[in-house]
């Protein structure tokens, strides 16, 4: 049977984006649903959005990645082509235990997209390559 949760999560995020375009308070009715679907990641993710911690990094060839400044001051890289984040919580909760769809950083990326809070950064190809490679080597996250 196909998974249900991703479709639900995607629909919820789409509705949040639509509502936010009307008014910035439009997100309030969705708070409960956000909490229900994403659980403990919801509040920390919204906090990251409030602090505008998400940056979309683009290179001239069109490749993208996201960088999220975590609450500890560490910068995590989230991929745009699949759900992946360099933070330890992702490795543990999502990959190892499959207890969560996303970590708070990836959720913050989606919420920033939905609420227009994403910062934009254009870098060279080499710089983007080094961001993506650094994500692999960085054991501590």
């Amino acid at each position: 049977m196909d998974c249900t949760l991703p479709a639900v999560a995607e629909e919820l995020l789409k509705e949040i984006k639509k509502a936010f375009q009307e008014t910035s308070h439009g997100i309030d009715p969705f708070s409960f649903r956000l909490k229900f679907i994403f659980g403990p990641s919801a509040v920390p993710a919204l906090d990251l959005v409030d602090q505008r911690s998400v940056t979309r990094v683009v290179s001239p060839s069109g490749r993208t990645a996201y960088q999220v400044l975590g609450s500890s001051g560490k910068l995590y890289t989230c991929y745009s082509s699949c759900h992946f984040c360099t933070c330890p919580a992702f490795g543990f909760t999502v990959l190892q235990k499959s207890e969560s769809l996303l970590c708070k950083h990836i959720l913050a990326v989606y919420l920033s997209q939905a609420t227009g809070a994403c910062q934009e950064l254009t870098v060279s190809e080499e710089q983007l390559t080094s961001i993506l490679l650094a994500g692999e080597e960085d054991d501590e996250g």
Partner: protein
Amino acid sequence: LCRGGLAERLCRLQNRERSAISFWRHQCISDAKMPSDKSGVLIVKILEMFEECTIQVAICQQLEQSPATLSSEDAVINAREPILKVLFARETAAHLKSRPQDVIHIYPPWQKLLLKNADVPVIMNTYFSQKVLLSEHSETTEKTYGLTKMLVRKNIVSLAQTFRLDDLDDELRQESSDQVACAPQIHNNCDLKQHHLALSAVNDSLLEMVESQGAVGWREAQVRVVIQRVYCLPAREGHRSHVQGNKPLWMFCRLCLLVQDAYGMFSEVQLQSLSSADNIEQYCKRWEGKFCCLAGMKILQRTTRGRALGLFSLIDSLWPPVVPVKVPGQSQDSEMMTTNLPPPSFCYILTIQSGEIHVEVDEEEQIANLYQPPAVHGLKEILQIGGCNERCSFWAQVLYLRLQAKHNIPINQREIWLFVTDSMLQNVVHNTPKVVAVSVAASCVLSTEITEALSVASQLVFFRDALWGNGRIICVERTVLLLQKPLLCSAAGADLSELTGPVRLDELDSTTQANSICAVRGTVVGVNESTAFSWPTCDRCGNGKLELCPQDRGSLYCSQCSEVVISPVLKMQLEVFLSCPSRSQSTVKVKVGLFVLINMLLSLQSYEVQSVLGKEVGLLNCYVYSITSHPNCVGLEEIVLL
């Protein structure tokens, strides 16, 4: 959590909900009967269950529905296949301990979600759910269930399944906004929020534009303003702390404009993030003093003098305006324009909506009359300014550069000290120091051009909008260091002539303070042989604390550059004690480097260190790293000027 932010709002809602849930559950346990209020209750029978990321997904059949929630659609579905997908949160599932064939009552407020391309509605927010025990079977079933542990299939969600927030509708809107149009575009279904700059009339009041936010069409408002200053702001301290070592990675600064409208009101506009302040000189040259049209701004903040001292010290340096400005609310006869207004007490900080370019700078046009270029003064004049927290601009030759010595702060967050002079300070004799120390705070964004140029040779640098106060010049946020001459500047009291002749430093005397540079001469009265040593330093950053490479024990590794040091520079040092007539009361100890040492030894034709005693050491340039009164001691380090 940010005040008034989304996270805080959710937290508050969550807390209320949590207490409501626990209260409700408590009620259910103590009161065995079902709650009498049946409106909106969803009654389902579980057919199949599985788990996805701790959420329990139950495929259920809807048994009956109370009239309150019945709709015509639902009635049709009910007749054929009343199938629902009900989601239960982890705690709810644990509380229910449900199994296939169980009947569950789900009380409001539950929520229904209809997915596109799916027939089965999804029910969520099912916190208030209760299992109904069918009385005949309850005892036996309880016993059976108690013995076997129920295994629930777990669906693993693929990471490749990302979420796309753009609908086809959105894509259509995107395309139309890319087109350049002179005539108004009518879109069928989309709202009329996406428009082009050509559409709306140009306003000349920032205040009007800001106050019309919330009204229909505010996003179309355009304001014509003068760009007074261009600078880079660091993007929050946190962004820098992650950077490892000295690598010029993501400096994460934002390009900002300080603009002023025809009424004299200021606003700081934050543009895109830059990875470094590299082209700041170009932006300053091309944009400062020009008119520009702002459209579709988002208000980030309304800040006041008390909360943004740095911003307002810059605004004050531009006040009063050089040409008369309009007075709001009055008809615009020329008599109504004035320069006699009190300095601004508030300022809006605006930012652009992401993705769309809303700033059009009229680069071809002439410099606006309202533009106030920085007033350049000589260092001597600046040292004599009375006030505090005044912005000042000056040219100066950088003689020596020193990084603050704290080791627990990453290299790009440290204060940099620049020791500067100009020809007037060099030539004046009394009461003014020959060299001034300028501290560059971590919040002052330096372009790579500047940092590279400074590390190589002595540079003539234009310090624009530095801050003067308490006898010190500091470079903070909104201060810009430039190598090239700005287009327009009133250089009234400044002497921009090159330095003639070699640079002279003040000689060490009783007024010398720590963290300064000076020249010293004296007689060697002692040598601290225990301090004689040599050590390798990194040829890139000068780091004296190199480590052995973990991979290759033969090589050296610099943790600040995060790279192997291929050709380390060998430094040697020895501490000598001097007797200096200019400061005879103090013990003066100088860490001298290789050059001085070898010279001294060669001149004596001896390799005995002790034979330098009694020798004259003449006019060494030194950095004063410590001055103590008890014991009365001056600690100097020989330096090489740029």
